[in-house]
Each structure stands twice: as structure tokens, then as C-alpha cells.
Assembly symmetry: C2
Homo-oligomer: 364 residues x 2
């Protein structure tokens, strides 16, 4: 158990953007929300998973919607707790803690608002070890845990409790409700026991994000290369270096979908990287050569500052470095790949771990 201050959140948000692989919403927004709540209520308490009793109730909380909309429609602290409260009422039992659904982006920090507003701890863990675009894409699904009962709530006071026969339905129902609610909504789902959190979640990921963020901050303060710092802190690979040549994006059925072209510079001069995203960056291709695919993490960093760039802020002319990092081993199982592998997203290429792809290409 430890305190997480407003200062600590700066590092967590910086690192969560790296784990967000371009998606999960702008971490800056989630940070501002949580810091605004901290200004009133003080620091948050973060507990480690092993401090949970086996029969404790943990209710993860998040925001859902198109990141392009969320940036313009920032909910207040009071609004962010509506879904959490609706699900708590439905259970009729006080939760021991809340948790992040994804270690990446906005939703790494939104549960801090819930924790601080309600005076409960947040668990140092998440359900992906990164960010993914759909609700069923999490390690609890692999462990057979039900996403429902799930609460969806808007800032007007409307709330919905969903019970489904299969986790994938939560994505269908919650996505259309989110569109009805104005393309962004608050959600609470995958309520778990302490035992389930310990067994089925990715543990320690909030601290991990914080360490990445600290590394970036310190590298910048000490005039070191922040990109190399991120690579070293994550055990990742440099996929590409270049200038954003073109970004084609379309907001479809609540998602920010699109493709970006990164024109190589330095060692990559004369060639172009193709990056495809659906909220998150999912595949990086150099012509016919696949460099990395989901579920491994693909992140675009500002070449100068090492700060991760989200898919919705990516613009022509940005000088960037694209890095790839190995995902949680559970994603590499047959069940994991069925849920989040390149085939699920329609890319029609086999999954090969990024370490193997890099080795085959002679390392980078």
C-alpha cells in the first residue's frame, strides 16, 4: 500500500501513453481529471494485488468511447463515478478497491478519480498490460471471468446494467449505448474477487507505467536520449525512424480507425513504414515485410521528447520513432491470439513474437 500523489500521476500518465500503443484515449485528460479530484480530496491510495483478501470485491472502472470525442467532452469527478456507483448498488456490497482495465492511455488514470472521489484504494494492476479497442479483449476473459454485470453511465444521470451470455456482447451493447450517450460514457465491469485479480490480471502495471514515465522525465532532465531510455525501460525494439507523411483516419462505429505512413529518415531513408490502427496501433509493415503485430505493443514516440503520440494526435510532419515491445505471455497462447491476434482485426498475417521477427531481420 502506498500513496500516489498528483506529481506521481504525471509519471504514470507519461508511461501509460507508451503502454497505450496510440490508443486508450489521451492520458493527459485522465490525468487532469484525477489531479482535479486530488486537489479536493488529497492523494490516492494504491494497493498491491497481494494485499487483497481472496474474497474482496474489486470493481474496475473506465471511460469508453471515441478518443476524438473524449478529448472535447471531459467529464467531472462526480460524473466519472456514476457507473461505478450503479454497479456497486447492483451488487449491494461495498467494493474493496477499483482497478484499471487497461494500463495504457486515459484508462490507466481514470480509476484514480474513482478511487479519490470515493476514498477507496486502486489496485496496482490492469487487465491487458497495454490498451486494446474492445471490452472482451482482456486477460480475465481468457480466465473465463464474466464481464457482466456491467454498468454504463453518462454525465446526464442515465445508467444501464448489462448482463450477457458472452463477454463479446458487452462490446456490442456498450458500444451502441456509448454512441447514444454522446460517443463517450463511463463504465464499470469485470467485477472480481481478490483471488481472481491475483490470478487473472496483469499485476504491477501501474508501477511499471510510472517507472517508464520516470525514465522519460529523468532522461529529459539529464539531456539523455529519451527514446533510447524508453526502449531500454521496456525491453523493446526500434522499428522505424522517420517523418509522418500521411494519416488517413475515419471515426466509425465509435472507433478511430485509420492508417499512417511514416517516411523513413536516417537508416530508414527512402522507405516508408505503414502503420494501421483501430484506436491502437495494431500492425507495422515495411512494404511486404511485417515488422510487428498485435498483441505485441507498437508505440509511436516523439523523436525529440520520447513522449508517446496517440493515434488521434498523429499529424503530418511529426518526427517520430516507432518502437515495439513484447506483450504479456498470456496473449501469445492460442486463446489469446484468437481474441486479439492479427487475424481478429482482419490483417491476414500470422502472429510471430516481435523478438523472433527482429531476430530474423538481423536485429535493430
Amino acid at each position: 500500500m502506498r500513496q500516489v500523489t498528483s506529481e506521481d500521476l504525471n509519471d504514470i500518465a507519461l508511461g501509460a501513453a507508451v503502454l497505450g500503443t496510440g490508443g486508450g484515449g489521451d492520458p493527459y485528460i485522465g490525468k487532469l481529471m484525477a489531479q482535479s479530484s486530488m486537489a479536493t480530496h488529497g492523494a490516492a491510495t494504491m494497493m498491491y494485488a497481494d494485499e487483497l483478501d481472496d474474497d474482496d470485491l474489486v470493481i474496475p472502472s473506465a471511460m469508453m468511447g471515441a478518443p476524438t470525442v473524449m478529448v472535447e467532452k471531459v467529464p467531472s469527478g462526480k460524473e466519472i463515478v456514476t457507473a461505478f456507483k450503479a454497479l456497486t448498488e447492483y451488487y449491494g456490497k461495498e467494493p474493496r478497491a477499483t482497478m484499471s482495465c487497461e494500463a495504457g492511455g486515459l484508462n490507466s488514470t481514470t480509476p484514480f478519480t474513482v478511487a479519490v472521489e470515493l476514498g477507496i484504494p486502486i489496485v496496482d494492476a490492469d487487465m491487458m498490460g497495454r490498451a486494446f479497442p474492445e471490452l472482451q479483449m482482456c486477460t480475465p476473459t481468457l480466465a473465463g471471468i464474466n464481464a457482466t454485470p456491467m454498468a454504463v453511465a453518462d454525465e446526464k444521470g442515465n445508467s444501464v446494467i448489462i448482463n450477457t451470455v458472452e463477454n463479446r456482447w458487452t462490446e456490442t451493447f456498450a458500444r451502441t449505448l456509448t454512441v447514444d450517450m454522446g460517443c463517450s460514457a463511463m463504465i464499470a465491469l469485470y467485477a472480481m474477487t481478490g483471488k481472481q485479480v491475483k490470478e487473472a490480471c496483469v499485476l504491477g502495471t501501474i508501477s511499471y507505467a510510472e517507472r517508464i514515465g520516470q525514465a522519460i522525465r529523468r532522461a529529459r532532465a539529464n539531456h539523455l536520449d529519451p527514446v533510447e531510455t524508453v526502449r531500454a525501460a521496456t525491453g523493446g525494439y526500434i522499428l522505424w525512424q522517420g517523418k509522418v507523411g500521411d494519416v488517413a483516419r475515419r471515426t466509425e462505429t465509435g472507433f478511430a480507425r485509420g492508417d499512417a505512413r511514416i517516411d523513413g529518415t536516417g537508416a530508414f531513408d527512402g522507405r516508408s513504414l505503414s502503420l494501421s490502427f483501430q484506436n491502437e496501433f495494431l500492425i507495422a509493415r515495411d512494404g511486404d515485410t511485417v515488422l510487428a503485430t498485435t498483441p505485441d505493443l507498437i508505440t509511436v514516440l516523439d523523436a525529440e521528447t520520447g513522449v508517446a503520440i496517440t493515434t488521434e494526435t498523429l499529424r503530418y510532419g511529426y518526427r517520430v520513432v516507432v518502437i515495439a515491445m513484447p506483450c504479456d505471455p498470456r496473449w501469445r497462447t492460442a486463446e489469446g491470439l484468437q481474441l486479439v491476434g492479427p487475424d481478429y482485426f482482419g490483417y491476414g498475417v500470422p502472429y510471430i513474437p516481435v523478438e523472433q521477427r527482429m531476430k530474423a531481420l538481423g536485429g535493430r
Copy 2:
């Protein structure tokens, strides 16, 4: 309190089609569903509103969706109770009875399935005295009663509980969920106390539908004019007689919308009636002359049999008589007209009670 047999349901469905003003789904489907349940469980018990205790819990039940889809996707008795059960569980209190949301069409009879399957009575009442296309369009809304908590469920076992700050939101959320669930779903909503049912609902409408149905059946058996029989049984007016010339329909956002042209015959020869519908027939115009509008009831009868024709079965060549009937007086208040008047549906004409319109036109 009385028994309603499978035979009685034939009359109720026949009369409910008249009150359905072309919408509310095919009453034949609802009847078959209820009769199938009765074949297993026996007759239904119908209670009068004055037999309810003031603090009894009454949960109305219905089907929701595009009638064009509902006729092809008929749920079984087990499926129709899912939403009712989900809402009962949410309340944690046994309901005294179920009720019809609309006296018109499919949903006049679907609650009989719930009543028979669960062994509880159905109240002889509804919430409209007719059928309307949207969930908030009912007399309990006028009385300030919340539509929520509301349950929406599909035949796969998925269920959703909705809580809204305003009844109109139930229409938005439930409509998109219905589309997700395959364009038809079971719903339970507007849970009321016995006192609220007595004060805020349209009482005796199921018996009323039965009397209309009996009149049609007897007229046909005795070779009387069934159309004149319906007119007399409902205190209505003959608006038009003719042949269906054209029907333009489009299924949009879960609704069956469209326009029909009825080429006059007999006294109406040489002129055409224009009928517009959104699930229900909502306005009848003879050129620039408005003959009747929502919330008064506009129904198209088969000229031969007196049987009401739904908007989705209306076809070129049908010989029909169009009748209009006065609506419940609550719909004629300023609040009622705001909810279901011609302006709400975008027809841009003032509401004038059909009795006055007919008098101004010299009676028909």
C-alpha cells in the same frame, strides 16, 4: 377476475388490431404465442384494476422492434419472460400482475404469454388505449411515472437494466439495443403500484378490444356489414373507402416508416387519400384537407371482412375502408399533444379532435 381462454384471445386479437391503428406488430403473432403457452399451462387470469391493492407491484411487459422483423422471428414462451424476470430480480419483489403497454397489436396479447408462463394475472388495462411507436408515449409518462428501471432482453439470454433521468431516453437506449439484439427484443418497464395503475393507465381496454373482436366475429357469422359494426362498436367515423394504390415503406432505425395512397371508390371516386405511418397510421389527408391525425386512432379495415390491416401487410389492390376513432381524453391535453401530437411526428398541422374535423366536413 375472470378466465381468458384461447378462444377469447381470438376476439381480443381481432379487436386489438383495430386499436393498433396499423402498428404495434401483427396481433396474430402475439395471439399464437399466448395460445401456445395456454395449450401447456391452461387459461389466463385477467383481473380488473379495482381488484389491485394500492401497494401491489405491477410490471408491464412487451416486445419491441420492427414489426417487419418480428413476424419472421417469433420468440417462444420461455424467451418472452426473460425481460420480465430480469426486472423482477432487480426489484427483488414478486409482482402481483403483468399488464399490456399498448391495447393495440402484438403487445395487447404478448403479456398473456408472460401471465400464463409465470402463473400470474394480467390487468385489464393498458398505457395508451391504442398503439404508439415510442416507449415514452404513454399515459404514465403524463402522470410523471418513471419508465425505468426497465429491462431489455433477447432470446440468447442477454439482458439489460436501464435507468434514465427522463422517459424519452428509454426509447433511445432500448431502440439501439433492440437493433443489436437482432431488431426484436423483449422488454419490461413502467413498473407501477396498484394505485398508479388505477390513476395513470387506460382501464378496461383489453375487454374493450375483446368486445370489438366479438362484434366483428358475430357480424361475419350473421352476414352483417363488419365495417359498420366496427364503426358502431368504437364510436368512430368512416374517413375513406377505396383501393390501395401505392405503398412506399422503409425500415429506418428500427421503425417501419412509410406512406400509402388509397384511391377512392364509391362516394370517394376520383380522389386519393394519403396515409402516413411510423409503425402506426398517424395522419390521413385528402389533398390539402386533413381528415384525422394522431393521437386520434386511424385504422385501415379490409372492406370485406372488417379485419384491421397492419402497416406492414398493406398491399397494392387491397379494398379497404379507413376509419377514425377518438382517443383517450388525456392525449388531448397540451402535455398529451406535446408527446404524441402531429407536431411531434413532424407533420406541421394543428391537432383538431376528429369529431370536430368530421363536423366541419359535414359528417360522414
